[in-house]
């Protein structure tokens, strides 16, 4: 099985636009947008733009149909049982906050929510706000030394008050994949629900939420080759139906009087106001495009690059890998400390080599504390990444040591 990353690159407008040398290794922060997604967005805004689900004229019908087709595309991508289980949000953060607000409203003081110490701030701080507001108890799954979530500790942590386990599907720092079957089994044993933060998972291929057996799944369009400003919350039908609305406005109501209002069923209940219509349509195109990719070949390609990167890093003086040392059960996201050099200095030197790398606390301060660092350098590999990108990074890191010490 062969896969041509260079051919794939040509489908991404940005790579044609940025002059060489340019080695984009920050897809975990935002992936580049695929041409089909951008085209779909532009086509929508310039030929079919109208508000959705309200107008009866042809343009509005076409806009509504396109928006609902994007919902169907998201359902296919996640293998959701029904398109009505897809809620469009403005991003993964908004989706996670929606669950924190809505599921949180169904909880009592003393009920427990479990997260891990490896969460992105977007799946941590919303739960802290909930805790501080309501007296819900927030508990933290510990981590193994290499940063993996110690899901084996879960059964002992759960109690009859455990209501929700909210974990990242794939760490944005280490790329480690969470052992979802273990989590779901433990959750089922106490009747808790499971929310997965799929923000980092989705750019590496379609997901099967039914096979995973979870209850909620959140992700962002801009991290899976789609437009910015749109995201998805999937919720199992009955799980979504049990949630009250958090954000209110046009399009999510039944009867409205000054005294009281009743609410539309999901997904509309959770889509107050005009949604990001064209961005959702672009996301639908990105997800359909992804669904047609040769994922086994892409994973082999990404794996080869990950091995090349890990080998190269191992040869650098003072390099400390944060996260698993092997390539198994992870996506190709690699964070590391380089001889104690500050990540911003390292990334600045890399930039001279045309290497785009992210450095800092990576929105995961508890995990940084676990590794006892203030910040890290992170390289992330996507299907359009090439061996040249990895080699440029390795050369740049060697130069950074020279320049900075």
């Amino acid at each position: 099985m062969s896969f041509d990353a260079l051919a794939l690159r040509r489908e991404f407008p940005l790579f044609a636009a940025v002059p060489a040398p340019f080695h984009y290794l920050d897809s975990a922060a935002t992936s580049q947008i695929h041409g089909a997604a951008l085209d779909a967005l532009v086509r929508h805004e310039s030929t079919r733009r109208a508000n959705v689900a309200r107008g009866t004229y042809r343009l509005a019908e076409a806009a509504t149909a396109a928006y609902e087709e994007a919902r169907a595309a998201a359902a296919r991508f996640l293998n959701a049982a029904d398109a009505g289980e897809i809620v469009f949000t403005s991003g993964a953060t908004a989706a996670l906050n929606l669950v924190a607000g809505a599921f949180g409203a169904t909880l009592q003081a003393g009920d427990e929510v479990i997260v891990s110490l490896a969460e992105h701030h977007s799946n941590l701080v919303p739960w802290q706000l909930l805790r501080d507001r309501t007296g819900v108890v927030l508990r933290f799954l510990p981590l193994a030394a290499d940063g993996r979530i110690a899901t084996e500790a879960l059964p002992a942590m759960l109690t009859p008050r455990s209501r929700l386990i909210a974990l990242t599907h794939c760490s944005n720092v280490t790329g480690a994949l969470t052992d979802v079957p273990a989590v779901v089994a433990a959750a089922r044993a106490v009747g808790a629900r499971v929310l997965l933060d799929g923000a980092q998972r989705v750019q590496h291929g379609p997901v099967d939420v039914q096979a995973l057996g979870v209850d909620f799944y959140a992700f962002s369009g801009h991290k899976c080759y789609g437009p910015g400003g749109v995201g998805v919350l999937w919720g199992r039908g009955e799980a979504l139906a049990a949630l009250p609305p958090v954000v209110a406005g046009g399009g999510m109501v039944g009867e409205v009087t000054p005294e009281r209002t009743d609410f539309a069923p999901p997904p509309q209940r959770f889509e107050a106001g005009t949604p990001p219509i064209a961005a959702a349509v672009g996301l639908g195109a990105a997800l359909d495009w992804m669904a047609g990719l040769p994922w086994p070949a892409i994973h082999a390609h990404e794996r080869a690059l990950l091995d090349r990167l890990l080998r190269g890093l191992a040869g650098l003086p003072g390099l400390r890998l944060l996260g698993p040392a092997d390539a198994a059960a992870r996506h190709p996201i690699v964070s590391f400390d380089l001889a104690g050099l500050h990540p911003h200095d390292v990334c600045q030197v890399l930039d001279r080599h045309g290497v785009a790398l992210r450095g800092g606390n990576l929105c995961a301060q508890p995990l940084m504390r676990h590794f006892d660092v203030a910040g890290a350098n992170r390289a992330s590999i996507a299907p359009y990444t090439t061996a040249e990108d990895v080699d440029a990074l390795l050369a740049g890191l060697a130069d950074a040591i020279r320049v900075l010490t």
Binding site: G55, A60, E61, T64, G254, A264, P265
Partner: protein, 142 residues
């Protein structure tokens, strides 16, 4: 088949408003809103065993919704829950452009031109959905 949605037959049915009003002693009552356009059907049902004995409705809606409610109220009495489910399914299929032949109630064909206007399908189907819910709820209380 005419492509004019607003055929004389639709206007006459809406105007006739068969079954308009409420029942004194319904075995089931359902109020259903079309959240997107604000149309509303309040439907009362009196069933005897598996048969619809009486049906009445208050419908606030467009011509299509009112014509559908009126047609339903004219046809339903004396029919079984199964027959009504078949009519509902046939109407849905008709709107989706895949009509069953022959239609269980020939008059349903007046809604064929609505096929092309997806945003209006809900208007036509609302009274049928209300009836399905009413039958379901009277099942439960039997």
């Amino acid at each position: 088949m005419s492509e004019e949605i607003y055929q004389q037959a639709i206007k006459e049915l809406a105007q006739a408003a068969h079954g308009a009003g409420r029942l004194a002693q319904p075995t089931a009552s359902v109020r259903l809103d079309n959240a997107l356009c604000g149309d509303r059907v309040t439907l009362d049902l009196r069933s005897e065993g598996d048969t619809i004995a009486e049906l009445a409705h208050e419908t606030r809606g467009c011509l299509l919704c009112r014509a559908a409610a009126s047609l339903l109220a004219r046809e339903a009495p004396g029919k079984s829950a199964d027959e009504l489910a078949r009519a509902h399914a046939a109407l849905t299929a008709l709107l989706q452009g895949d009509p069953a032949e022959p239609l269980p109630w020939p008059a349903l064909s007046i809604f064929a031109p609505v096929r092309a206007y997806k945003s209006r399908h809900g208007c036509v189907l609302l009274p049928f959905r209300a009836l399905r819910e009413a039958i379901g709820s009277s099942d439960r209380t039997d």
